[in-house]
Structures are given as C-alpha cells and as structure tokens.
C-alpha cells in the first residue's frame, strides 16, 4: 500500500513548456546529461591509467535524476549533492577540467588535493561539498533552509540521500526538523536499489522511501529517475512550493546503479536481468528518443552537441593533467578559517 504519489511521465512538448522549459533548455539538458556521463567515463579511463589515486565512484544510470533536479533549481538555491550526482555540479556550471583535477588530486581541483572523488563543490555555485558519512549533509541542508526562513529569503535548499542512507538517524532528524518548522527544503532520495551490496529490502521495510514523508508532515512523490523531464517537473513543483512557504517535499527518484558501488566492485551480487532490464531504460537514450519524438531533435543538432562535449572533455582532461600536485607546504594550510574567509556577501 503506497502512500506517496507516483508521478506520471511527461507526455508532450507543451506540457514541459508549461513547466518552464523552452526548446533550448531541452537541448541544454541533453548536453548536461552527456557531459555528466562523459566526465565519469573519462574518469574511469583515467583511473585505469593509474592517474586517479584512491577509489572512483560514478552515477551511471542517475544522469537524468541529477540533471533533472538541478535544472529546476533557482540561481540562489543551494544544494548538497552526493556521489551519484555529478549532474548537479555540471548543471550549476563547474568547469569540467576542475573536476578531473579533483579526481587526480591536483592543486586546481576544488579541494586543492585535500579531498578526492566527488567530495567537492564550488560554493559560489550554491553547492556544498559532501562528506563521506551518509547522509550528514542532509541536516546541513536543513540548516541552510533554516537560515533562509529566518531571513525570510525566497530560497530553497536541496539535499540528496541514497536509499541506504535513509536508514541513518541523520535522515530522520533532518526531515523531522524540516517538517516541524516547514522549512524550504526539498529532499531527494537517489533510490538506485543498492547500497553497496545491500538490496532495498534490507534497508527499509515500507514500499517507497517517499512514503515516509507523511511521517514528517509533508508530501512524498516517487518518480522514474530515468525520465529527466518527469524528474524536472516534480522538482520544479516541489522547489516552488517550498519557495512559496509550502514546506518540504520528498522526491524519490527510482533508478538502478548501473555499475558497481565503486570501480573495484563488479556488482556480481546484482542479478544480471536487473541490469538488462534497466539498460533498456538508459536515461540518455530515453531522453534522446523523447526529443526526437516530441521536439524534432535532428541528427545535426545531436552531432553538434556530441562533438562539443567531446572537445570540452578532451581539453578538460588535458588541462587537468597539466595541473600540478599540491605543494607539500600547503599541508598545514586552512585547518582553521580566518576572518577574511568570511568576507563574502553571505557573511556580511
């Protein structure tokens, strides 16, 4: 017995125009999804080349969800994306070469080699760098929303968590505070059906994670996370509701994690048929088909976007590789902030 609403797919160009996207936006979304996947594919190659230290995680299969949500964010909104949400960084405009530099632990990565992987963010783009501990950024995002509420700003905080992380107390405390105070925050569950090797029925015992929204006094919605436009439409509605004082929403994006937990994991515990089934719903392919069927997407347009993205990635990898390792003298830098660090518009 599901409690949360289950979202319908977007049927037509008209519908999505009403939700706020014109044709250029639609092509932009395609470009962002392609870039998201491309960055992670290149990352994988770099990893195999021994250029990425440590481990390496991707969000393959989650491109529609991450790009769809981020596209719905307003310029002043903030977010705390996780390790499957590269698309959020892309949509918010981080330069790809900086991401590769981050992967490689170089001085020009957003964390300057202090942290790795997608443990990064550019706060000038309204993003906050994740920590490993899941989902510690969720209460942090609730705190951002609290600040907006105190200052009566019309801004919204977005925060992501996996269906595995839904089991942690942080999820509960954050959602509960947000519900009690009707804070402008949107919770996004990246439900990719696996938490490392753990299947959903060992992580939660209700039908949908989104069903839990009711326990906190707000609405939940389940959306097909391979359908970028449906994700966009639901996110847009939830964000604007929050902006207008309507309180939080929990959006659950259903996908499948199309690779192992990280690069070392062959995911042999995932039934083959599951991969096969979800491969048919590849978010890029699916969106490409939609564009062709509903928005007269041409071969020429597609080729152009593809070659732009390819060039961008080639240049980015090269530029990142030219970035030096961080100077060892920076080891001790920045443990504590200085008053000048607060010299930003935020902190006046």
């Amino acid at each position: 017995m599901a409690v949360a609403r289950e979202a319908e797919p977007v049927s037509s160009l008209t519908e999505i125009k009403e939700a706020g996207l014109d044709r250029e936006d639609l092509l932009g979304i395609y470009r962002h999804m392609l870039l998201t996947r491309g960055i992670e594919e290149r990352g994988h190659i770099l990893y195999k080349q021994g250029k990425i230290p440590g481990s390496f995680y991707t969000g393959r299969g989650n491109e529609a969800a991450s790009v769809g949500i981020a596209t719905a964010m307003g310029p002043e909104d903030v977010g705390t994306p996780l390790h499957r949400d590269m698309g959020v960084h892309i949509v918010r405009g981080v330069e790809p070469w900086r991401i590769f530099a981050q992967f490689m632990g170089r001085a020009d990565g957003p964390t300057k080699g202090k942290d790795g992987n997608v443990h990064m963010a550019d706060d000038r783009l309204g993003l906050i760098a994740m920590v490993s501990h899941l989902p510690a950024m969720l209460p942090v995002a609730v705190g951002c929303a609290l600040a907006f509420r105190i200052r009566e700003e019309k801004r919204v905080a977005l925060t992501w968590f996996g269906e595995g992380a839904s089991a942690r107390g942080d999820t509960h405390e954050g959602m509960n505070l947000a519900g009690v105070r009707r804070l402008p925050v949107v919770f996004i569950c990246d439900n990719n059906q696996w938490a490392y090797s753990t299947p959903t029925h060992l992580e939660y015992a209700c039908e949908h994670i989104a069903d839990r929204a009711k326990a906190y006094g707000f609405e939940g919605v389940v959306v097909d996370g391979t359908d970028v436009l449906a994700v966009y439409r639901e996110a847009k509605a939830a964000i604007e509701k929050a902006r207008d004082g309507g309180g939080p929403t929990l959006i659950e994006c259903l996908t499948l994690r199309m690779e192992g937990h990280a690069v070392h994991d062959d995911a042999s515990y995932v039934p083959k048929e599951m991969f096969e089934e979800w491969a048919k719903r590849d978010p890029l392919e699916r969106y490409r088909t939609w564009l062709r069927e509903n928005a007269e997407f041409t071969d020429e347009e597609e080729d152009e976007i593809r070659s732009q993205v390819k060039k961008l990635l080639n240049d980015a990898v090269q530029r990142a590789d030219e970035s030096p390792d961080p100077d060892v003298d920076t080891l001790l830098d920045g443990v504590y902030a200085t008053p000048e660090d607060l010299d930003t518009p935020h902190h006046k």
């Binding site: 202090k114 510690a136 209460p139 942090v140 929303a145 600040a147 405390e173 509960n176 009690v180 902030a337």
Partner: protein, 324 residues
C-alpha cells in the same frame, strides 16, 4: 563595574551579540519559552522572536548539523546543549562536517555550541561530564572553558565572531556560585591566551574551568607554608597557550596540571607532555597531573566528592612537588 554571576555574564554576552548582529540566533531544546534549562536565555524569545530563539526538537544532530548549514549561509548560530553530556549525540557532525569543512573544501563553519558541563551537585554520570578533552584532539575545532564571569562574556563574544566551530564549555558549578566584575560594554577575550590567575615562584599550576577555584584555595593554603604557587587559567584548550605555560615553568621549574575530566588521555596529558618535551631542561621535578579517576561520574555525594579533585588533593600534590 557591575558585579555579575558567571551565568548572568554568559546571558548578557549572548544577548548583546544578538542585539548587535542580526545573524546571531540561538537554537536548542527549551531555550525559547522556558528560557533554557539553566535560564541563560530567559526572556530572549520575547525580545528576539521565535525565529531567533528556536525551540528545537530533541535532536542534537539536527541542531548541530542545522547550525552548520545556517552558518554556511552566513548566519552566526549558537546551539545550546541542554547538558554538555548530550553533545555525544552530535559528535559525528562536529568531527566529520564542522571540523573538516574548512580544510577540505574551503568552507568556514562559524558556529558556537554552548555546553553546560561539569559536576559537583549529584548530577550523576550523564549530567556532570567534562568532555572538552575529546574535542581538543580534533583538528578544526576550538575549545573554550571560561572560569570567570568576565572571561565567560568576553570568550563567548569571541566564540560567536570566530569563523570556526567553537565548543564553549560553561561550568554549571560556577553558574550562580561565582560572581565578579564584568564590564558593561562589548569586549572580546582572545583565544589562546592564558590568564595569569595568581603569580608565584615555586610551582606552576595549569588548569581551567571550575578547577581554577580549587587551585586557588589550595594555593592560599600553601601560602602560609611558604610555598608560592603560580596559577595559569588556560581559558581555551584549542588553541592553548603553550608559551605562557612554558614561560611559567621556566620560572618555577615545577609544574602541576589539574583538570576535572578523567585522567587517562585527558588534555592534561598534552600539557604535561609538552612541558616535558619543551621545558625539559628547566624541570626540577616530574610534571604532576591531578584529575578525576578513570571512571564515569558517580551520583552519590560521597562518591562524587571522591571523584572530583578536591582542595586537599591539590594541596597534597603541590606539597609533594615542593618537597621534590
């Protein structure tokens, strides 16, 4: 200058910062309508409204995590733990997010967590602890332990304006027992500067918080016996004033470190180890540590008295050193 209790000084400092700086807000359990378990924020909600004096759900993680997010958005949150003991429920958010975000990602987290700590009134194992040592070990956090009303105010204002996560331990046993002059105007006390509580020549006694008064009584007792004790009140543990301690030890050539937290792995070990390492040639006796024994804080009054270092214990330790 007006004489105020330690508690009133904290309350005044907080109120004046909230009046001066709209970014400052307070969040905690029962801080609003009730004015806080110890009444530090009494009357604040009337003055500042329910969105700047926020009654939180019973959720230490959401409180500290929420403050972290609000701080990143430009606020200056002050979280109140109902008792310092409950900060264990927000340990992860402090050590994982707040402490590391600046180093990892360049994002400052200017939050203050107020922690009513310490024993002496049969609070038992969960309302009496002094968990400052645990936090002083975590790079990225600052740890403050005022002993006097004037420092309580000045250090609180400094904590709020500091661009880092600050754990502000206010000792419950000083709240109403300790009164002293407190300037009316706004002032700050810098972190990392010990306060010379009492000058002396024979032994350096390094301490903080409520133990400053225990140390003082012990020093007074020994005065008659011709033993002159210098007392340094560290005031902050992270950062701590190594220079002042070493300077004092170089003068006296003997040192005793005293704290109310338990002994093994307590912050006194850091101080003693540092003295041993950096003032080795000046030392005429081993650096002594006096602290609570390695047990939880017991409830029953005679047990608690035996647990918390008493004036006699300090007197004995000092005498031993003097005779060494």
């Amino acid at each position: 200058m007006a004489v105020k209790t330690y508690l009133q000084a904290i309350s005044d400092g907080l109120r004046s910062e909230m009046q001066r700086d709209k970014r400052v807000f307070i969040i905690g359990e029962d801080v609003g309508v009730y004015g806080g378990a110890f009444k530090v924020t009494q009357g604040f909600q009337e003055e500042f409204g329910a969105w700047r004096v926020i009654d939180a759900p019973l959720s230490e993680t959401a409180i500290v995590g929420g403050c972290t997010g609000a701080a990143m958005m430009g606020m200056r949150p002050v979280a109140e733990m109902q008792f310092a003991d409950f900060i264990s429920c927000a340990w992860d958010h402090l050590v994982t997010v707040a402490a590391k975000q600046r180093y990892r990602a360049g994002t400052p987290v200017p939050i203050t967590v107020r922690l009513p700590s310490g024993g002496g009134f049969s609070g038992g194992p969960f309302h009496s602890q002094n968990p400052e040592s645990s936090f002083a070990h975590i790079p990225g956090l600052k740890v403050v332990c005022p002993a006097t009303p004037a420092d309580a105010k000045g250090l609180l204002i400094e904590a709020i304006q500091d661009p880092n996560p600050v754990l502000y331990f206010e000792h419950k046993h000083l709240y109403r027992r300790i009164k002293d002059e407190v300037p009316e105007e706004r002032y700050t006390v810098p972190f990392g500067e010990a306060r010379m509580h009492r000058e002396g020549d024979d032994i350096s006694l390094v301490t903080w918080g409520a133990m400053v008064y225990t140390a003082d009584e012990a020093a007074q007792k020994l005065e008659g016996e011709g033993i002159s004790v210098e007392i340094l009140d560290l005031r902050t543990l992270a950062p701590w004033d190594k220079e002042a301690v070493l300077r004092s030890v170089e003068k006296t050539s003997k040192a005793l470190v005293l704290h109310e937290d338990t002994l093994t792995g307590g912050f006194g070990a850091e101080i003693a180890a540092t003295i041993g390492e950096e003032a080795f040639e000046s030392l005429d006796a081993p650096v002594r540590r006096i602290a609570a024994p390695d047990t939880p804080v017991p409830f029953s009054p005679p047990l608690e008295k035996a647990f918390i270092p008493q004036v006699e214990d300090v007197v004995a330790g000092l005498k031993e050193l003097a005779e060494y």
